[in-house]
């Protein structure tokens, strides 16, 4: 007990507190110029926008994947089930280079997109693709248990009361899994905000256009601009923590309301 606490303090708390100590040494002026410079603002916009789009994509398709895995039987189901966790297990750098290879102009998919004038890799779209990959398991894995738990009787009740399949889905199933869906969305979003490895390869890293915030932090570190890096990191950290707080509150709320039986 005591040892594990010491370990926690050494490995997590002291290093993390450095971030706050360091940022405390900044003057307001330094802080604001780092946090609100044009290049940083563009990076925020891209990071938050692409993360949001990716999380949204994951919410939609993750819901589908979870639904199909829980409800239907089909050949290859166990393989699909195992593969869903691939983004958890695969090093992000590997994901980054292979996604780049596929979606660049002479890649398997990128080639198909060129005639439509769509540039997947080295564009904001590429960032969205990488972030979608990275966040894919979150929605699926948070929804699966909730979908499994839905009582068949509840659906039968809806049908016996005259609801058709679509009404049952919209009014009974969807509201029941809504909180979990949002949790999965928020987790994918939070993960995307901090992602670095897979994005740096596919994005092209052009300042103002395809530069994400973690990369900007990295660049500032390499230029020994520790103050600037710290200030931006603090902003990202606060954003991630707020998201986490929202998730936890939401979960506590649904637990309280839906505790039945």
């Amino acid at each position: 007990m005591g040892i594990s606490l010491v370990y926690l303090v050494l490995i997590v708390l002291i290093p993390l507190s450095m971030l706050f100590l360091k940022s405390a040494t900044l003057s307001w002026g330094e802080f604001f110029s780092a946090v609100f410079s044009g290049r940083t603002l563009a990076a925020y916009k891209l990071t938050f926008g692409a993360s949001f789009a990716a999380a949204l994509l994951n919410a939609i398709f993750g819901f589908l994947v979870a639904w199909v895995l829980v409800r239907y039987r089909f050949p290859g189901k166990r393989l699909v089930d195992a593969l869903v966790d691939m983004p958890f297990a695969l090093p992000t750098a590997v994901a980054g280079i292979s996604l780049t290879a596929i979606y660049s102009q002479n890649g398997w998919i990128g080639k198909l997109l060129v005639p439509f004038g769509i540039k997947a890799a080295f564009s904001p779209l590429g960032v969205v693709i990488a972030l979608t990959f990275v966040g894919l398991p979150f929605v699926v894995r948070t929804l699966e248990p909730v979908l499994t738990e839905i009582d068949q009787e509840v659906e039968e009740a809806a049908a016996s009361l005259g609801a058709n399949r679509w009404q049952t889905f919209c009014r009974v199933i969807f509201p029941a899994v809504g909180p979990a869906l949002f949790t999965g969305f928020a987790l994918a979003f939070a993960r995307a905000l901090g992602e670095y490895g897979s994005v740096v390869f596919i994005s092209g890293n052009m300042p103002f256009r395809t530069e994400i915030v973690p990369l900007l932090i990295m660049t500032k570190l390499e230029q020994y601009d520790y103050a600037g890096a710290t200030a931006i990191a603090l902003v990202m950290l606060v954003a991630a923590f707020s998201l986490l707080l929202v998730i936890n509150l939401l979960q506590a709320w649904t637990r309280k309301r839906q505790a039945l039986r």
């Binding site: 926690l8 290093p15 398709f61 589908l64 199909v68 695969l90 280079i97 894919l136």
Partner: protein, 284 residues
């Protein structure tokens, strides 16, 4: 019981096909791309790229880092989840949040905090330089950053498991005269072994594959502070794609093994819980 309430066949087929397309695009194609990229120039080039001394050093460093961080975090994970599941104490929720913390911190930031702590610009860093101890841009920094990033995996897996199992069996063992260690090895450990293994392999996968955090602290010294993912980056940026994908293919295989072990554990623990259900006489 038969589901009389189900979507029409065409809806089901449409949904299944959509899922296959989506996963094919995002999961299967990247996997295939790695292996085709690795073997594009033939097996000899593949083997030669792996035998490269720098790559070899990267593999060795990656294994070393995992060999240090995984046992450390495993021991911590068991201790922490045991304390959380068995005792009530002030600040338990804070402890839980702290354990989760590294999950929410961006890898880049995870690496950065160690630079802030040990880097040359900090007071502590200056002291280290004076005593000729290198942490940042050296192996210790890589180990520390990796430990931070992989910190929650084992504990996260074990805490819910141990909480749900309760302490009845352990108390029974103690009343039967077992001492603390006997209770742990004969009762506690067998009960949590699958969850533990699951946490350990996830921890290992992340430890070997971490990129962002390690990238910040490593300094990219070839043959010395490059882990496998960093080696992939360097080779890729040098347009040595065949070699980059060759190293990637090793990491991909690690991921596939991880997934296989995970599926095996899920299948195993599922069949265990079904058996327990029947033995307990709790039929549906």
């Amino acid at each position: 019981m038969a589901r009389t309430l189900n979507e029409p066949l065409w809806v089901r087929l449409l949904l299944i096909i959509t899922v296959f397309l989506f996963l094919g695009l995002f999961l299967f194609l990247p996997m295939a791309a790695v292996f085709t990229g690795a073997f594009k120039k033939g097996i000899t080039v593949y083997l030669k790229s792996l035998a490269d001394p720098e790559t070899f050093a990267a593999i060795r460093l990656t294994l070393l880092v995992a060999a240090i961080t995984v046992p450390l975090n495993t021991i911590f994970g068991i201790a922490a989840s045991w304390a959380i599941a068995r005792f009530d104490f002030y600040g338990k929720n804070i402890l839980l949040t702290l354990i989760d913390l590294p999950f929410t911190v961006s890898p880049v930031i995870s690496g950065m905090i160690f630079v802030l702590l040990f880097g040359a610009q900090s007071a502590f860093g200056a002291w280290l330089i004076a005593h000729d101890i290198k942490i940042i841009f050296a192996v210790p920094g890589i180990v520390l950053a990796t430990t931070f990033v992989t910190f929650p995996f084992v504990a996260r897996e074990l805490i819910p498991l141990m909480q749900s199992q309760g302490s009845d069996e352990e108390e029974a063992a103690l009343t039967l005269g077992a001492n603390g260690w006997q209770t742990f090895f004969r009762v506690t450990l067998p009960n949590i072994k699958w969850g533990l293994l699951y946490g350990v392999i996830l921890c290992n996968a992340r430890a070997m594959g971490e990129f962002g955090a390690v990238s910040v602290v490593s300094g990219h010294i070839r043959g010395a502070t490059n882990t496998m993912p960093l080696q992939v980056e360097i080779l890729y940026n040098e347009y040595n794609f065949a070699a980059a994908f060759a190293v990637s293919s090793l990491l991909m295989m690690l991921a596939l093994v991880t997934l296989a072990v995970k599926s095996f554990i899920e299948w195993k623990s599922k069949s265990v819980s079904i058996r327990q259900m029947f033995e307990g006489g709790e039929s549906a």
